[in-house]
Symmetry: C2
Subunit: 352 residues, 2 copies
DNA sequence: CTGAAAGCGCTAACAG
DNA sequence: CTGTTAGCGCTTTCAG
């Protein structure tokens, strides 16, 4: 492996100094057209390759941004990452990707790792509450901006999320309007903000209709997204609910076939709703009523917000809400198509 | 922003030289136990943070590996990336992720970018044929190993893929055995190796059964994974086929509801098969017969192979085939469960 | 086992 | 518009 071609080689071959070469390469305006042309041509000829390490060492800017997600192989996350990549790649940044696997320990070490890697910015999905201090302590001191997606509002960072509370409230109201008076709520956990927010929305919506929010009808099962076993706990409910609101489409799609096989008529005897607009929702029969939003858009928003904050460190921290919509399909009994009108309705920013 | 804590600060505070600190930090054995202890303690105390750029500049090793995929928001790709991340993260490497969006130009620039970023290794999904030379020229000269997934076999790089040809051959034989004699094949294109291989498998299987491979029954439609419009071209076929083999589950899942709505009884009048074991395949009615394999495993294989090649640059280049299985469900008419026996059956390597 | 010294390739003052 | 100089923080000989 022969020695790297450096700006000094170009300088020598062009009879200028290394700084001039550096300036030409960085397209600084303060350089003669002709000199630049010669330098660029020679660089090409010699097969010069910019060395980002030397540059980063000098400037302490990396052009790298970190992305920490629980799992990439989750359709929502994958789309969001796609959105982030698109924006960041367009802005000349590289993406460091790391999974936290929903494990607090891994999340902490991922944050540490990104910090060590000296990323120019960080986007974290589903940050555990306990990591709040890490993020704040580690990053804010160094003035490295952080965007947190789908977590509770953190100080010192940008927060982005759809309005899980409001969406769940609306869905519950929808089921109520469809005539349901005994609605069960199924969720994998109540610790993650996205799920606890949905549960609050559910409870408050019922409360506002003077329906007692009976916690017996809140089924919490960590495995409800991977295993249909949890469905039997629904059959234990007394009275048998006239609707189930699944906090996740994945769980709904797992449960519906089981419910059908047990003779539960959907939507006649039981209305069903999900959350997330999984692609399976239009395959299943009956098609699934759900809450839709654009993960791609969330990713893009997160990315553009991060870029803004990088460029303007004085930018106010805020909680940004991305639009959602109620998608009514057959599983909730009344098929009423509606335009995806709120789709691009981002509060606060209008990143065209 | 106060100055960074460097090894010199630690050296000064510990009354040793910077080289000793460097050695202690890197856990070199040639250092007194006690000295090391003191150094590590002081590093912790001062909040020292290793600077990878200075290190990379010196050693020209980066501990970064590049991953180029067409689109992250594709369930198959997302799972594979998850597998790669898991392995690489465990081995102390960071992941650079970039999308090529199936565009030759972007793919080339992503490769360039990874090359400039001086990754220690590269994994590319669905490499366009035309990029072959880029990969070879750019990377092999620099001795940076490359793993190519789902492409035609390239020289100078490691190749990994499932056996698309064989899998398609088997599926076609399965449909034949189920009594079908007029089978249509639907594919988004015949340029990507994964699809052209599947088509060859389809054709050869028919050929071996002395059924003329009539190209009229090969429906190529770029949009068949995003829009069900292509289904009408199936109704134009004469004679009307008694089976359709979709080269992609996504297309099958889009088409089945349309076929059903037009009164085509599946599987009675028409058998249907897909490829990829999309999660929708067990939601749809009838459930979809398909080819299953583990994208996670493919990702892990790609990663371990890359690590091996990094550690041993003399390693022979090869084409590695990952196991697949025929998953027979209702859509092909005979429900015959079968253990996922080939799942961990990787040829050549047994990365436990 | 430890230290001194040199340099990886680039950029940012500061002069001219 | 261009050159000189001095590092960024780490690793690696080579000596001791």
């Amino acid at each position: 492996m022969t020695r790297q071609v450096t700006i000094y080689d170009i300088a020598e071959a062009t009879d200028v100094s290394a700084s001039t070469v550096s300036r030409a390469l960085r397209k600084e305006p303060t350089i003669a057209r002709e000199t630049r042309r010669r330098i660029l041509a020679k660089a090409e000829e010699l097969g010069y390759r910019f060395n980002p390490f030397a540059s980063s060492l000098r400037t302490s800017r990396t052009q790298n941004i970190g992305v920490i997600v629980p799992k990439v192989d989750n359709p929502y996350v994958a789309s969001a990452v796609a959105g982030i990549e698109k924006v960041m790649s367009g802005a000349g940044y590289n993406l460091f990707l790391q999974q936290s696997l929903g494990c607090e320990h891994k999340e902490k070490s991922a944050i540490d790792n990104m910090y060590r890697a000296r990323v120019d910015g960080l986007i974290v999905f589903g940050l555990q509450n306990s990591s709040d201090e890490n993020i704040g302590r580690i990053f804010s001191r160094k003035q490295t901006p952080v965007v947190v997606v789908d977590s509770v509002a953190h100080a010192h960072v940008q927060n982005i999320s759809i309005d899980h509370y409001k969406a769940a409230y609306e869905m519950t109201s929808h089921l109520y309007q469809a005539g349901c008076r005994c609605i069960a709520f199924v969720t994998p956990n109540i610790s993650q903000p996205i799920f606890s927010d949905r549960l609050r929305g559910f409870n408050d919506s019922l409360g506002d209709k003077c329906l007692p929010a009976n916690q017996k009808f809140v089924v919490v099962n960590e495995k409800c997204e991977t295993n249909a076993d949890f469905v039997k706990s629904i059959f234990d409910l007394d009275p048998f609910p006239d609707a189930i609101f699944f906090a996740s489409d994945t769980a709904a799609l797992l449960a519906i076939p089981v419910l059908k096989s047990k003779g539960v008529k959907i939507p006649e005897a039981m209305r069903v709703a999900g959350f997330g607009n999984d692609s399976g929702g239009i395959i299943i029969e009956p098609q699934l009523t759900t809450i839709g939003f654009s993960p791609l858009e969330i990713g893009q928003s997160a990315a553009t917000t991060l870029l803004r904050t990088i460029d303007n460190p004085q930018l106010q921290f805020s909680k940004q809400l991305v639009g959602h919509e109620l998608i009514v399909r057959q599983s909730s009994g009344c098929f009423k198509p509606k335009a995806f009108q709120d789709r691009l309705n981002i509060k606060q920013f209008s990143n065209a």
